[in-house]
Every structure is written in C-alpha cells, then in structure tokens.
C-alpha cells in the first residue's frame, strides 16, 4: 500500500519535473522552431548571418525597454511612460548634439538625467498621492511626448555624432553590433540583482505581498519609487541606443516600442523562471517576437501583421501565465 503510493508519487514527481522543464525552456524551443521554419522557407535570405546579426543588433533598444519594464512590474507597478522617455532621451541627444552643438557625451548625460527626473516625478505621484502607477505613467507618457514634440519642432533630426553610432551599431564583435552586448550585459546585471541580492528579494516581496513586505521591515514606498526611477532611467538609456542605432532621432517612433515591450515582458515571464518577470526570459521573448516578424516580412507579408503579432502575443502571454497560476492553485 505504502509502496504503491510512493511509486505513483514518484511517477507524479517525475512527470511534474518534465512539465516544469518544458515550461522553463518552452519559449526557447519555440524560438528555435520559428528559426527553423523560416529557415526552411527562405534558406538564403533568412538564415544569412547578416540577417541574424542585424536582428540581434537592431533590437537592442526593445530589449532595454523590456528590461526597464520588468523592474517596476516585479514590484507591482506599471510604467507606461517608458516609451515616451525613450523618445524624449533620443530627441534630447539629437537636439543638444546637432542643434545646440554640445559634445555627444554631455548630450547623453543630460538625456539620462532627464529620464531620471521623469522617474522621480512618476514616483512622487504614485507614492505621495497613492495614485495607481498605470494612470500616473499614462498621463506622464503623453505629457512628455507633447514636450518632446514641442522642443523638437516635430522634426526628425539626423546627423548625430558618428562617435555614438560607432559605439552602438557600427563596431561589431563576432559580427554582432555592440548594442546587442550592452543589452545582454544589462540583462545579466538585472538577473544577478533579481536572483542574488537582498534588493532583488525585497522587490519580489513588495510586488507579491505589500503587507507582508511592510511587516517584514521593508520600506515598500522607497522600493516602489526606486523601481520607477530605474525604469525611466533605462528608458533614457534605450533612447540613447536608439539615437546611436539610426544616427538620428524622430519624435514619434519610440512609441511603437511600448506594446512589444509589454508583450515581451509578459511572454518572458512564462519561461526560464515561469511566473516571474525575469530578464533572461525577457531577452528570449524579444528575440522570439522579432524573429517571427522579420520572418513574416521576408515572406512578403504586409506590415500590419506586426500589430496583429504583438497584440496577439501580449494576450496569449498573459493568458499563459494565468493558466500556469490556475494550475498551481488546483494542485493544492
């Protein structure tokens, strides 16, 4: 009797271990599958190293935005203004460098400072007036977008210092632009902080149980505020990389990053560490989505597919994570 129970128990545990593993690496496998499918359909264009390395390098901006998003998301807050901060920062670099004539380093520093300022203001309203971060950052995003349109005269500004362009996209290591490595290093840093520091653990508790966190002695308000500042800062970093990627800045394009970043953040939370916003999962999710879209455009599908793909992915990702949670509840 006891033997039988422990046998089925063991079988059950083995099956559970397989399910866990499949879940952790499911997205990675799906990414590989997408590459294989498009590779078979368009072996010469899609599978070329030039194409793959371009995908890796050009999407560094989206990776950084996604990484910025998962920090407040882990703490239970949304930052919808991050894409507008990206545009603000890119435009500031361009305006200060090209129109005002500041050296590129000074322009970058000012752009990053502007990002931090936006984060401080977001946090101020969220913490002091207890307004939901969704609302604060929604308003803030539109506000600074207006600000950006105003100081840039709604113009696309090209001619950003070639030094920046070189540091971001022209210089390649192993054939891949430096931008990719910047994003990768950032992901690794966040991964370390999330997984191996006290701050990462505090963040997790702030997001999952504010009351538990407070009773454990965590300064919940300071953590949440800090997260909003870091996400805005990373939005500004993404803006700098954006300006470096195309050597110019235009006052609208940053906004197209918001939805893909959310889709990638939630999709990433279904893999590597399922149920948690995690940087490695996020990076994989970004490249999974981008590979899909690049493949479709090589097949000659119209551009509206991009919206279908990103919008659909966001809903599918959130649904998947809901199913994961529901299954865990049923296990009890």
């Amino acid at each position: 009797m006891t033997l039988a129970t422990s046998d089925t128990g063991e079988a059950h545990a083995r099956r559970q271990a397989w399910i866990d593993r499949a879940e952790r690496f499911g997205l990675l496998i799906a990414w590989a599958a997408v590459i294989i499918v498009f590779g078979l359909l368009r072996p010469d264009t899609f599978l070329s190293w030039a194409n793959l390395s371009t995908i890796l390098g050009s999407q560094a901006v989206l990776v950084v935005v996604t990484l910025g998003l998962i920090i407040p998301l882990t703490a239970g807050d949304y930052d919808l203004s991050i894409a507008s901060v990206l545009t603000l920062s890119a435009m500031l670099v361009a305006v200060l460098n090209v129109w005002v004539g500041l050296p590129i380093v000074a322009a970058i520093l000012l752009a990053l400072l502007a990002g931090i300022a936006v984060g401080v203001i977001n946090g101020f309203f969220v913490i002091y007036f207890r307004i939901h971060s969704l609302i604060v950052t929604l308003g803030m995003g539109t506000f600074i977008h207006g600000l950006t349109l105003w100081f840039s005269d709604t113009q696309t500004i090209s001619g950003v210092s070639i030094g920046l362009v070189r540091a971001v996209i022209i210089t390649r290591v192993l054939g891949i632009p430096l931008a990719f490595y910047y994003a990768l290093i950032l992901a690794l840093v966040i991964w370390y902080v999330f997984s191996y520091t006290a701050i990462g653990q505090r963040l997790l508790f702030v997001g999952r149980g504010r009351e538990v966190a407070r009773l454990s002695g965590i300064n919940v308000d300071r953590m949440r505020w800090g997260c909003l500042v870091v996400s805005a800062f990373l939005g500004a970093v993404a803006g700098v990389i954006y300006a470096g990627t195309i050597g110019a800045a235009d006052p609208n394009s940053g906004l197209t990053y918001l939805l893909p970043a959310f889709a990638a953040a939630f999709l990433g939370a279904t893999s590597i560490q399922p149920g948690r916003f995690n940087p490695i999962g996020s990076v994989i999710a970004v490249y999974f989505l981008v590979t899909g879209i690049t493949g479709l455009s090589i097949l000659g599908v119209s551009t509206f597919v991009q919206d279908l793909f990103y919008g659909g992915a966001l809903i599918v990702a959130v649904t998947l994570s809901q199913i994961v949670r529901g299954r865990e509840e049923r296990l009890n």
Binding site: T197, A198, Q201, R208, V212, G217, G275, R325
Partner: protein
Amino acid sequence: MDAAIAADPGAGQDPVPVLRIAGLSKHFGGAQALANVGLTVARGEVHGLLGQNGSGKSTLIKVLSGFHEPDPGAQLWVNGVEVALPIPPGAFRSLGISFVHQHLALVPSLTVLENLMIGDLAVEGRWRLDWRGETARARDLFARYGLAIDPRMPVERLSSVQRALLAIVRAFDQLRRSRAPAPLLILDEPTPFLPASDVEHLFALIRTIVAEGASVIFVSHDIDEVRAITDRATVLRDGRVAGTVVTREVGKDDIVRLIVGRVVDLEAMRPPRRSLGTPTITIAGLSGGIVDDFSLSLATGEVVGLTGLIGSGYDSVIGMIYGAEETRRGTLAIDGAIHDLAAMTPARAIALGAVFVPGDRSRGAIPTLAVRDNISLPVLGRGLAGLAVNHRRLARRADGIGERYDIRPRDTGLPLGSLSGGNQQKAVLAKWFEVAPRLILLDEPTQGVDIGAREQVFNIIRAMCEKGAAVICASSDYEQLAALSDRVVVFSRGRVAVTLRGDAISKSAIAESCYRSAEPGMAETAA
C-alpha cells in the same frame, strides 16, 4: 475565586521575567478597550492569553506589536529593563521579541526558502546570496525541528499546518541567530484553521523551542489547546484581567467561568416568546469549505443565530445560501420549490426573496456615495425607475426611508461614510429590507455599532420578522445572538455541535457551548 488563581500574577516567579506589563490601559474614543492590564511571562514559560471577542486580547497584542499607542501610564519591562511603549518597529529583534500573526505573513507564490529569508534580507543589504548554502541551512533548520518541507517548494503547495510551522520556525530562528538572551515568541491565534491532529505537530514544535530557551505567549480561543500547551494562562474579560491561572491546577470549567464571567440575565433584552408557524424555508445538505452537511428549517418570522469559534465554519453558511461563496452541494426550499445551492448566484437569491447584509460594511455599501444612492441601488430598474432614473422620486423615497429607520443626520444626500457606524448600518439594512425580503441573511449585523443604535438595529430586524421574513444571523457576538434569536446553532469544525432553543439561550450559555463544543461526543441538546 479559586485558590489556584493567583492574586498577583508573577509574584514569587522567576525574579527576572521575560516580559512584564503593568498598568496598561487603552481607550478608543469613549470606549475603554483595556483597563489596567498586567501580565508577566516567566523565562521558559508558555503563557496562554484567553478571552472572548472584544475582551481586549487583540488590542493587547496590537499595543505590544506597536500598532496601537497605549494610554499614558503603561509600563513594560523586557528582561527586567524598562522599555517605552510603543516599541518602534526596528527594536523587536534586539529585544528578542517576535510575532507570528494569524495570517502568518507568508507570500504563497514564492518559495519556502525565499519566505524564510525575507526577514533577514529586509534589513541586511546582501550583495551575494548563496542559494546553495541557504538551501542547505534551511534543510538543517527543518531537520532540527522535524519539518518535512522542501525549501524550494512554493509556500502555496504546503498544507496549512506546514505553513504555520514554517512561520514559527522562521520567527524563532531569527531570534536565535540574533543571539537574544531570552527570546519571546508571541503566537497570535496560530491554530484556528488547523484540524486537531495537526495542532499536535504545532505543540511539539512549541515544546522544542521552549526546550531551547524560548518563552511563548499563546493567544487562543480554544481552552483545550491552552490547557494542553501552556504553563499559566491569563484571561481577559471586558478589557480587564479576569484572572491568571496555573493551567494544570484548574479545570476547564474554571477557565470557562473566567472567560464568560458571571451569568448576566439577558431575559430583559429578549423579546417575548412568540409562537412560530410551520417551517416555510428549508436548507438541506449544505456543504462547502469546512461546512459539512448542514440542514436547517425556518418558520416565518423566526430568527436563527449561527455561531461558533473562529474556523468552525458558521460564518460561511449564509454566504453560501446567497450564492456569494463557493458551495459544493445543498438545496434551498422556499414554499415547496427546491433550488440547487451549488448553482446559486446572488441575482437568483434576490429573485427568490433573499437578501444578504455582509458584516464587512465595505462589501455592503459604498461609503463615498450618498446615503440615497446606496439605498436606491436595489430598486433601480424595478419599475420605480425604469429606463430613465427619476432622481427626484428616488430622493423622496430615500428621505422617507431615512425618516422611518431614523437614519441620522436626516440628509440622505450626505456620503454614507460620513455617518456613524450605527447609522451606516441602519442605512444598509434599510437598503435591503425595503425590498420586502422573505429570507434575511445577516452577518455580524451590529459590528462597529454603538450601544444606542444597537437596540434600534434589533428593533428593525424584529419588525421585519413581524412582517413575515425569516432571519439567519451569523455572529460571534453572543449577547446579540441571545437578544435576537429564537434558536442558536453552534458550529464546531464545520458541523452543528449544539442547538440552543428558547429559554436555554443566554449569552453565557452560548459562550459556554462554543468553548465546550471542541470536546468530542457532544450530543445535540434541546430545551
């Protein structure tokens, strides 16, 4: 009283007690929650803290945990050193005091190990977490206290007793590592949701940590548990210390007497006997949550009280009848028509003539909306308003209701939240009673209602009975049940333990039944 009841608790005990409180009082507005309370916990002692709801138990714990500031004059000594109240949040660890509250402060979706470490990580900035080492340390810790828990498992996969054990081990381990000379654990009702067999695991753990030098304050409703685990126990009644006893020297009856106090004659408050008609509403085989196979028949105009200790399940019955809580099975028969309770929804219940007044007023009304809007909600779209809401007519109706229910101040345009608790409750009752219900489901109808308004609330409920409604009232306020009920059903671990009828109903009889009902083999009694 008894010889075993020491006049001055702590006198002649360990010269340096772990904790000594003297002259602790606490007022909330005009109400005195604690009056000159004293408490002494000796080193290595398990000290029980007992009392009914409202006896001041939780206020005492909240003063100790720094949540409430006591009235001036209260004194506290920890290990013989006087400490100012309230204790600031950061000081507990250095004082060697740790709390385990009923909700345990665990995040279910995170792992055991993460929950174990968060207390340290909240105060220590560590930049290199050694997960392997911490896992091994957690395994050692669990092995030492006989817990079969995998540190990597999410807390939500643990059983309730494992969660409680984890919370206690976590608290004690923190104290032990902070090298507190005399650690004190305050366990605030850690057992109400545990089955009896699991409580023994918890006690084994408490004995182990006491053997390792800890002292424990064990707050509980359950006399048997207090008798099983504590060395001494302090009983609070009406905010005062009713007595401190050496547990093994007194019987259960002595403790019950201390908790309940002298029998108060409540007959004066009770309405005159009424002859009740034949049953018209029948609930049969209701099961869900901890509640198992509950059946009840009600006559028109009858008030049935449901009660029991926390965790006995009495408080979820009315929500299940109304379709507001998950129900496994059961039927509701009104006038011969039988309805499946597993498929019940609030909308269907309302259509059948049932209304539900939740105890938590935030579930029953919206404080930021006007009294008038709250009262009008059930009649919107019921002919009265139709498609276009006639606000003037609704306001007139609401004003009339305010007059009849004596809702003060007489301005139904005021936000509900600006009224006193009693007047808010009158408005909430009016909101539902004005739709002429057949079956009224009440949950703690006078919680947070002052004494004067209480009598009015009782009268409103009685008036509804006279109009032919049947009432089921879930409450842990025995005085209120004694004043209202024709029958009181006492629950224990999800089943009916005792039913009190007619003259057998009194505050002390209900309290006694609740505290005794944990005993096995309690037969149904009737008067």
